[in-house]
Symmetry: C2
Subunit: 221 residues, 2 copies
């Protein structure tokens, strides 16, 4: 009985890790769609979002069943609850990739982003995809050091995000308000995606320590 | 024993309802600070955010203790899990009110918003505070109809939010990129706040029906 239960707990963490890979792929493709004004790729991300929502629903149902049937305590209880929280963050990361893909679709065949800001988004895209994949590693390893390494990468995203504001607000910004609005919203999507990846890693690590993560959000605009 | 347990469950829901009132107050004050360029009020919201985070941590600890010690099943289990999710949304609503207050502080003694868009923000402010207070009612009543009424109010917020984009992107927008960026971000904070209020109400209502809420986010930009 206990044996079967730990197998289920492992499966649950496995599903969550799979979800991290899916949202990493979604953001990787969404970024390529955005930078290349690639409609087919954008449509693919948009069509695939339902799959991410499905895995999330599945994770949550598995977690609920575990709670109801096995009444876990201590570390096992914390693991199940961390999975519930992490699945919510990962679903949100999928939504943010979806928003990026929709922005690419909305402006097609034009580019959503003026040429000079594209390198920043390429860099943010790389960084946030790396964050999602690191979150996957942390889900599997529960490694505290690996979880900490996400924060450094998240700082990088925050730096680029802040710099973007100075670019669009500079006197020599020649692309007008609509492009500035797109840059503002898209920048925020990447920055929020990164925050959620950090939050997933924190939740999974604190399973091990039994201490609740800090609630004060490091996020700022 | 069972008696004491149901008292605890009621206390938990009571804490959550109290949290809704707190985030409603935070957004009401943040909106006044924003519209009146009122630094003292903005500082008050910023200082009070830690209290919201504390109630959230308390809700979560109570919920965890209930799960560990009472191993609830069926409706009781769903209630505890709904509280955990709802507390997360409410904490986020507090963060969004904090962002509004910080925007007011950042631009002080200037106004963060040009005069022509202030009425829209006044209207969105009213609507989202109403949403948070309706969420409180739903937490207490678990009334399905009351929960549905939130969606109509949320649609109103979405309409104003969409309209704001047409205002800042119009040819006759005379306040430049920086003001447009502020309007974009602030508009998004209100819109997300409203989404979270709807999500709180949904979670609490589905406790009664036992059906999981839809995961596809209605949110769009």
């Amino acid at each position: 009985m206990r044996e079967a239960y730990h197998v289920e707990l492992e499966q649950l963490a496995g599903n969550l890790a799979g979800m991290s890979v899916q949202v990493a792929n979604a953001m990787e493709k969404a970024t390529r769609a955005l930078l290349g004004a690639d409609l087919a790729l954008a449509e693919q991300v948009i069509g695939d979002d339902a799959k991410i929502d499905d895995i999330r629903a599945e994770c949550e149902e598995q977690a609920y069943a575990l709670l109801a049937l096995q009444a876990p305590v201590a570390t096992d209880l914390r693991t199940v609850l961390a999975v519930i929280h992490a699945a919510e963050s990962l679903e949100r990361m999928g939504d943010l990739a979806l928003h990026v893909a929709k922005a690419a679709r909305r402006r097609h065949p034009e580019h959503a982003l003026p040429e000079p800001v594209r390198p920043y988004f390429a860099e943010m895209g790389d960084a946030v995809v790396k964050l999602a994949l690191r979150a996957e590693e942390v889900i599997k390893s529960r490694d505290v050091e690996a979880a900490r390494s996400l924060e450094a990468e998240d700082d990088k995203v925050d730096d680029i995000h802040r710099h973007l504001f100075s670019v669009i607000m500079a006197k020599d910004w020649e692309f007008g308000v609509p492009a500035a609005v797109d840059v503002t919203l898209l920048g925020r999507f990447y920055e929020r995606y990164a925050d959620h990846a950090v939050s997933v890693a924190k939740r999974m690590v604190f399973v091990a320590t039994g201490k609740m993560p800090g609630y004060g959000s490091a996020e700022d605009i």
